[in-house]
Amino acid sequence: MVPLEQLHLNHVLQTVSALESVILRSFGPEGGQVLFTRDTGQVMLSRSGKRILTALHLDHPLARMVVRCVWKHSTITGDGSKTFVLLLASLLRIIHATASKETHMFQSHNSTKAAEAATARHLADKLLEFALTELDKFIVLNVLPHGFCVSLENFTAKTQHNLSFQTLLVSFFHTRLGYAYCDFFRNLFCELLSHWKVKDDQPSFSIQLLNNSFPALHTQVSGVPVSCSRLIEGQVIHRDFATPCPQVRKQPLKAAVFNGYLGIVHFSSWTERSVESIIATLQSFGVSVLLCALKQSSAVLAAATQAGMCLVECVSEEEISLFTYVHLDFHDCEERLKVKPCSLVICAPSEGQADQHACAFQDALRMLLTALEPMHKTQTALKKTIPSEECTSLHTDNISNEAACRVHLHQKCVIETGCVISAGGTFEFLLHHALHQYGHSCSVSVNTSAVSQLLAKALLSVPRQIYSHNLKHFLQAQTRVMALIPRQPNALSNMSLKLLDLGFESVSCKYQLVLAVLQCLTNLLRMNMLLRTHTILHTKSHNSLNAHSESSEDEDED
């Protein structure tokens, strides 16, 4: 007999609230680090919601589903994982409150619980539909006029555009690494970007390149203060020489890259000679460094040593592809002269911290990619994530796909690339205001009005958490943002200059975040039952299902 577990709305709410309580410790400008240990005993640090949630090793299937949604979202955008959970919890709370009031909508159900669930499901579907069709309009009309555009052209110069680009980076690093190092890493980031800038290409091209080859581009060093992190010219191959490296060598060096074995592996006098002839040929080309992806036989090492060549074994695939990219793809064109390949050395006293900084760097690249991409592209990226999430829901639906297509049609000129807005809840305040107004206008149906009110209310929970230590600041911030609304300024006014010190965040990241949260919400509420299947091998571990961590203890009361 398979154990059946009825899923109720309050179970879902409890689960998400438990996750929220973990996340809140590192949320906002006042948030701190979360320290976690791996099963290997390694100590890691993070302020990234994605890493914190995955470190929890949750048992509850619902919690795991939420974590997977967060994981997917932040892998694409590199940001917004904590806001994701926060917004989701707030939406669930409001839906729960509404549903328990309005159970009369589905009187046909035989229990109040079921009626509640049906109302909630209905609300969630409506919310998603509303967001997919209308949300972009609201953002374009009400949020964008207060935003600024970021471009990658000449970002190092001190003009207004670049100021906003740099502020965007500073605020990102602030949320990830804390106050202490945000300026330092901003400068390092800009420097890295300017070294790898390829002229005449799309600005996002070099970021994409950096993002793809980041593992090969950076080196982590522990035991040294963070301020020693720097860029070094050239590329670092993270392997030692397998043959002794002579000190004096002629310039320029010639290197050869091998993907496979040199010569034939089996030992015989014939291959010995063939290895020698290969080495001799390489020598005649003037090659003095050999980079090999695989471990070479001792005959090859001996031959290379005798020929005075430096051989490096087991070079990782990423390093080889970056090496070939820099040296072959750029080789003939003029681009090569403009790009100055360099790699990043990230220093920190402990391994965990160095790793955290490296992750933040990579996420910054992802975040910039999302911020700079035109909106219609990101739509398709979003659509890709839908089918896999649908597998978890019990119903299949056509609404989201249809809606997505409809959005896609009038998407073209919607949001210009790289739009940013002041951080500290400005996006939420503005959108809240717009939705609120819309809900109260008489032209909309009751249904839509309710839904937009609901979303508006949920959005406010984000700034409320940002200023959670001081309610006065929350009200001050809200008033400040509200004062902006009648003016519709396009340039930096005095008011918006004041907001500058709060930092910036990307509008398109925020937009995607709201959509992703609503997708996740719909999926969560569509489930009504939990089937715990288990194979014979797992009978023992099934008993331990009830053993829960402190944080998720209350999730599973049945």
Partner: protein, 564 residues
């Protein structure tokens, strides 16, 4: 069978620094490390519950590794300090005591953690900027024209490890040897890139420390009945890394087909003797192998007047290659002329029961050998592994930055006085930048200075009092059995030995309040030479690592422990 085991959920702790359990653990760790700090440190015995070897030590790298961490915060601090020690070899205890004091003081003054972090970071940058200045009062320029300050530096490192149980003349002897060995490894004719040589340390048990010595060149183990006939210099030599014992394992993977009735062993031996013949033809006088040599080949070579040395070991391979400037010969091809190396001469040296063959270099070399003697094994091990290697590393660091810091706690008290003075002066400019109030800034600065001073105080373990003089801000200790009047005695010296006592000098006990003042530079015509010096590079790094780690720990709000 599937080996899949379900992962159990993680254990979480909210706001770990508020829990008294974590605070107690941190305090305990601080007390433990504090009592192991300095030349009069109390030693610690480390032994496990299953009867392993007992280790006696006061060194941070050994102690920290022995602490099994019950909490992730402890292992975070431990990891940072161990990483620092692995890079700089020195000041590990300074960094850990300072870091733990900073955390404790931050908890004591009750300010918001993010304010503490900001102020600590700001004060750290003040400290490092001050230390980098030319006229910094606690910095000493190292003079490479005389070995005196180098010996003082080496001696301070050696004296801070009381486990070796060295007497005054013994530690002086070892520090001289360490500097001598260091100087031998620095190349004279410098090409564009400097590559330091190697010191090979050979421990010999049961002799007096004063019999330790340093030799240029290499000393290798050799069978006792070696006879050095008349050898003309220079000697040609050959070096093998592959085993010459006649086994097939070295030949790599693959299949070997053998005709029926063929004796593989004798075939291989024939090949080896062939090699021997070639070597003899090429007039090689010294035949060295990293691994085992077949006894027949050994006998053959010895009979023909070749010195044979086998089982050299991987650790001696590189120094030997450097000494003789030769590549390693391989069995894959016939030995080319270029694969032979040269030594100038060989001689036999006797150290107690051990016989060593001394290879004298053919030209100038940066390889040297240090023979270390001590009475018993534990002390010898500590002397070899910790003291000599660390001293060598610290001395090498001076090449990067030719300065040192005053030891004996004087740098700490000087910095504390400097920061106190600076923070009072720039409070109105700094506090708005750090977005905190003036009171908060001053409180946090006071916590920082107290932590620095507490490192200086922890040098004293015999109930003595620690004091600071109010002109130069140096550190003074007052033994428990004398009164303060004794300090005015003109023979008294401060911790590092630079400042001499005089009648009108004023003192204040550390950890009591005193009016802030700017430490005055020493302006005497013939200043005293410091008797205790610390490595500049290591200490600056330790300072930064300590503050950064403390900041990190203060920023931790939540702990998730994977219990799998």
């Amino acid at each position: 069978m599937s080996r899949l085991v379900k992962k159990s959920p993680s254990v979480c702790t909210d706001l770990p620094l508020n829990s008294s359990d974590v605070c107690n653990k941190l305090r305990l760790m601080k007390e433990l490390l504090k009592s192991s700090y300095g030349p009069t440190a109390r030693l610690k015995q480390v032994h496990n519950d299953i009867g392993g070897a007992v280790v006696t030590t006061s060194t941070s790298s050994v102690l920290l590794q022995a602490i099994s961490c019950s909490h992730p915060i402890i292992s975070l601090i431990k990891g940072s300090i161990l990483n620092h020690v692995s890079r700089y070899s020195d000041c590990g205890l300074f960094a850990s005591v300072f870091c733990l004091s900073l955390i404790e003081e931050a908890g004591r003054c009750g300010l918001r953690k993010d304010v503490m972090i900001r102020v600590y970071k700001h004060l750290l940058s003040l400290c490092t900027a001050h230390l980098q200045q030319e006229d910094c009062g606690c910095k000493v320029k190292l003079d490479f024209c005389s070995s005196r300050s180098l010996i003082t530096l080496a001696r301070s490192v050696i004296a801070s490890k009381p486990t070796c149980v060295l007497s005054e003349p013994e530690s002086a002897h070892i520090s001289r040897l360490a500097v001598q060995a260091f100087l031998l490894t620095v190349p004279c004719n410098i090409p564009d890139k400097v590559r330091l040589g190697r010191t090979v340390t050979i421990p010999i048990e049961g002799h007096s420390v004063l019999e330790s010595a340093v030799f240029s060149g290499l000393l290798l183990d050799t069978p006792e009945n070696i006879s050095l006939g008349s050898l003309c210099s220079p000697l040609r030599m050959v070096l093998f890394s592959a085993s010459l014992a006649g086994d097939l394992s070295e030949l790599g993977d693959g299949r070997i087909e053998v005709h029926q009735g063929v004796d593989t062993d004798s075939q291989i031996l024939d090949q080896l003797l062939e090699l021997g013949k070639q070597v003899l033809k090429d007039e090689v006088k010294l035949f060295v192998c990293q691994k085992v040599i077949h006894p027949v080949l050994q006998h053959y070579l010895r009979c023909n007047g070749v010195i044979v040395i086998e089982r050299l070991g991987i650790s001696l391979m590189e120094p030997l290659i450097q000494l003789t400037a030769q590549p390693v010969a391989t069995l894959h091809t016939t030995i080319p002329r270029a694969a032979y190396g040269e030594v100038h001469n060989v001689s036999v040296r006797q150290f107690g029961s051990k016989t060593k063959i001394h290879l004298h270099p053919a030209g100038k070399t940066t390889t040297c050998t240090m023979i270390l003697c001590h009475r018993n094994e534990t002390m010898l091990n500590e002397l070899k592994q910790l003291v000599c290697q660390k001293t060598e590393h610290v001395l090498r660091l001076t090449l990067r930055e030719p300065c040192a810091l005053l030891g004996g706690g004087c740098t700490e008290t000087h910095l504390a006085a400097y920061i106190r003075y600076q923070s009072k002066n720039d409070v109105s400019e700094s506090s708005p930048v750090l977005s905190c109030s003036q009171t908060e800034y001053l409180l946090a600065a006071e916590a920082f200075c107290r932590s620095l001073e507490s490192v200086a105080t922890s040098l004293e373990h015999d109930n003595g009092a620690s004091l600071i003089d109010l002109t130069h801000a140096h550190h003074w200790t007052l033994p428990s059995d004398v009164t303060e009047e004794h300090l005015k005695d003109a023979t008294a010296l401060c911790g590092c030995g630079v400042v001499q006592s005089c009648q009108n000098r004023k003192w204040s006990y550390l950890n009591t309040e005193y009016a802030e003042f700017s430490p005055a530079p020493l302006l005497t015509a013939a200043p005293l030479q410091p008797t205790v010096l610390d490595s500049f590079t290591a200490k600056v790094n330790a300072l930064e690592v300590a503050v950064e780690t403390a900041n990190l720990v203060l920023d931790v709000r939540y702990v998730i422990q994977d219990v799998n």
